[in-house]
């Protein structure tokens, strides 16, 4: 048994070492031997902790850490939290306003089982989950709650729409441009909410790293100002590009009208075309707009602009 093992293996060695007694072990081992017990179990702390990735983590190919320790939010993070929460509130209102229940899967199921109010309840609960999950995620800086919020708010928009834009509330404008403008507003707020909420995590990480002396930041104000400026410009640009895409059914006839000259039959036909006003028209618009963007990248326009700025500065 282990507790009977004599670790002090000294013995009389005087015959070997000219009358001197040599210890084969140090005193400290005696002390260690005194602590020996008969159990041969591997100590618990000897077994390394293994993190088994959860389903969500496996699905996204990386850890979705919810328990990451952040230091209390600084001013920048707090303002981002408020911004994210505000955009989420507006987004939820817009989602509620522009997504009718008709055409959704839950609408079909509730009709089948004969409880039509169930669809409305489910629809509303998805938006509420998106709202509460988002608010919780943003203020608690919990990535999982944020992810649930994103999924709920995207899921609520998935429905068979029959190619036309329909809104839930009647008080919203009927005009095509106004409708598309509201759609873009909704999309911009969705993207901004995703960006701002992920920004909360990003800047919390940065702030924690700064305060833990892992990263040193020189000129914090200039860096945050750049982010704020981009936050103001990017949605406008993205919205403008999206508006061009959505209004392709008006842009193409207008261009044809210029070349058509004497008669405006062709342009008129295009204006009345069902395909151009439908979602396929939007697809065509997307193809055209992004073809132009691809050409810009193809000719290295960003690089050339940069070179020009470097020269002229």
């Amino acid at each position: 048994m282990a507790d009977k093992v004599k670790v002090d293996g000294g013995g009389d060695t005087s015959h070997l070492y000219e009358g001197k007694k040599v210890r084969s072990s140090a005193p400290s081992r005696k002390k260690a031997a005194g602590r020996l017990k008969s159990s041969t179990e591997i100590p618990k702390d000897a077994i390394p902790e293994i993190h088994v990735p959860s389903f969500i983590e496996s699905f996204f190919g990386g850890p979705v850490v919810s328990k990451q320790k952040f230091l209390p939010a600084d001013r920048m993070v707090s303002s981002l939290q408020i911004g994210a929460a505000s955009s989420l509130l507006i987004l939820c209102f817009l989602t509620l306003a522009i997504t009718p229940i008709a055409g959704t899967a839950w609408f079909a199921i509730s009709n089948m089982i004969g409880i039509t109010s169930l669809a409305g309840l489910f629809h509303l609960s998805l938006i509420v989950i998106g709202l509460i999950g988002g608010i919780y995620g943003v203020f608690q800086r919990d990535k999982r709650a944020m992810l649930i919020s994103y999924v709920a708010l995207i899921l609520v928009t998935i429905r068979f729409a029959g190619s036309t834009v329909e809104f839930r509330f009647d008080f919203l404008p009927d005009g095509e441009i106004a409708q598309k403008f509201i759609l873009i507003l909704y999309a911009v707020f969705l993207v901004m909410y995703i960006e701002l909420s992920s920004g909360v995590i990003r800047f919390s990480m940065l702030d924690t790293s700064i305060r833990m002396n892992e990263v040193y930041v020189m000129g914090v104000n200039k860096i945050t100002r750049r982010y704020h400026t981009s936050l103001a410009i990017a949605p406008v640009i993205a919205g403008a590009v999206a508006l061009m895409t959505l209004l392709i059914n008006l842009i193409i006839p207008a261009i044809v009208d210029i070349f058509d000259g004497s008669s405006d039959v062709a342009s008129e036909r295009l204006r009345e075309s069902v395909e151009l006003t439908s979602v396929y028209g939007v697809a065509l618009g997307t193809a055209i707009v992004f073809l132009i963007i691809a050409i810009m990248f193809g000719v290295n326009l960003p690089l050339r602009i940069q070179q020009m700025r470097e020269r002229n500065a």
Binding site: K222, T286, F290
Partner: protein, 439 residues
């Protein structure tokens, strides 16, 4: 241009929503997708770097292209010392210059070896570098382990405001430095050679000779100088003339053999047999060289590296450099080492073997051969069992069995007349040496 995980997720989401929107004929989904794509495109556009491969240029031209932003940043580094001992500190100063006419927001990371810890300052800096401006980053790193190390390269990264795309460049700026094993002050190593070298020096060996330290008294032999006569002893001896004998001053050869086989690195990185052996060898070398002995070193791993015996401060640095570079690999038996070095060492010279005494069936034979040729063999054996047991990587039963085997081996070596010490992790080198030599 490198995509971040965020931008990849944005792009995937946009494409998925776009396709779903087309399938379901849902303009709402398509609109969200288009806004997402526009957002991504704008970020890529503002990242100021195009996909150069689309321009048909060759790969080597790429750096020049992407460097419109990054090439204008120059880095220069200065380190406080290129030779340092373990547990020392090195101050690193990194100068960054922006030679462009535009301000840049850059992330700079000066890569330090993994085992080093940044003690003061930061090697990771996020900053706004003004046009034609220069800034200095300073940080201090601790050097906990011996070895050859390199600081660098300097990684410079520029990314868009949303963290969607980034452009990275490594500035090939490297600074090498050497970390010597730390040395313990040895008061008296209690190791003296019985065989002098031809050149006399200030060190006493255990033979009578023309030294300064008293050795013993003996009867007068015709030819002894009169100044050696001890008159007091002569008077006490009842008429016999007695003369003083002195210890012979001479330098001796000390050979230190280090086991640097793979097995010597068993245990935690900072607490294993090789770490302890190199520290002990450094301390012993310093001690013996300060006594003006000549010290030789043999490090065996997958090959046998030896440093010829020599004296002086220069030799100490040569030995320390070899010790700093000792890497655990291979499995050369000790017998091969002793067979190779024995013809080149004076008989009776002290040989100090620093080895965990594991995984080598030739140890007993090797020590027997050395003892048979009258070498004074001291074995200091840092116990990897203790390292493993302390780190809780070894269960108690395994520890007990291996410990018993080790004790038997050590007893056998002692039986051959070698001085052997089981060197435990918490034991000072002085104590271990004293234990080995039986004091």
């Amino acid at each position: 241009m490198a995509w971040s995980r965020k931008s990849a997720m944005f792009a995937s989401l946009a494409i998925a929503l776009y396709l779903l929107g087309l399938v379901l004929r849902n303009q709402q989904l398509v609109t969200v997708a288009v806004v997402l794509l526009s957002f991504l495109t704008w970020a890529a556009f503002m990242s100021n770097h195009a996909d150069v491969s689309s321009s048909g240029r060759r790969a080597e031209e790429e750096r020049k292209n992407e460097g419109v932003q990054l090439n204008s940043i120059v880095a220069l580094r200065k380190i406080s010392s290129s030779r340092i001992f373990e547990d020392g500190e090195i101050e690193v100063t990194l100068r960054l210059q922006n030679k462009s006419n535009l301000p840049k927001i850059v992330e700079v990371r000066d890569r330090v070896p993994e085992v080093m810890r940044v003690k003061k300052g930061a090697n990771y800096v996020l900053m706004e570098l003004g046009p034609q401006r220069e800034t200095t980053i300073s940080y201090t790193i601790e050097t906990p382990l011996r070895g050859f190390y390199t600081i660098g390269p300097v990684c410079i990264r520029i990314q868009d405001a949303f963290g969607l795309f980034h452009n990275e460049r490594e500035v090939n700026l490297y600074d090498d430095f050497l970390v010597f094993p730390k040395m313990e002050d040895i008061k008296d190593a209690l190791i003296k050679s019985r065989v002098p070298k031809i050149f006399t020096g200030a060190v006493n060996i255990r033979n009578p000779g023309e030294g300064s330290n008293f050795y013993n008294l003996r009867e007068y032999i015709p030819g002894d100088p009169m100044k050696k006569v001890n008159w007091a002893a002569t008077a006490r001896s009842g008429g016999k003339m007695m003369v003083n004998e002195y210890e012979r001053d001479a330098v001796s050869d000390i050979i230190i053999i280090i086991d640097s086989r793979s097995v010597s690195e068993t245990g935690p990185v900072s607490r294993n047999s090789l770490v302890y052996s190199t520290r002990a060898a450094a301390s012993l070398s310093q001690y013996f060289l300060s006594r003006r002995d000549s010290v030789g070193l043999v490090v065996y791993s997958d090959e046998i590296v030896s440093v010829d015996r020599d004296t002086g401060k220069k030799q100490l640095y040569v030995l320390l450099t070899k010790l700093a570079g000792a890497i655990a690999k291979g499995n050369t038996p000790l017998k091969v080492v002793t067979n190779r070095i024995m013809p080149h060492i004076n008989r009776g010279s002290p040989i100090i073997i620093l080895s965990p005494l594991e995984d080598d069936s030739t140890i007993v034979d090797a020590v027997r051969d050395l003892r048979a040729r009258n070498f004074d063999v001291t074995v200091l054996s840092p116990s990897s069992l203790e390292f493993e047991f302390d780190a809780k990587r070894l269960d108690r039963t395994g520890y007990e069995v291996l410990k018993t085997e080790r004790d038997i081996l050590m007893s056998e070596l002692r039986g051959l007349g070698a001085f052997v010490m089981d060197w435990e992790p918490d034991m000072m080198l002085n104590t271990a040496l004293a234990g080995a030599r039986g004091f």
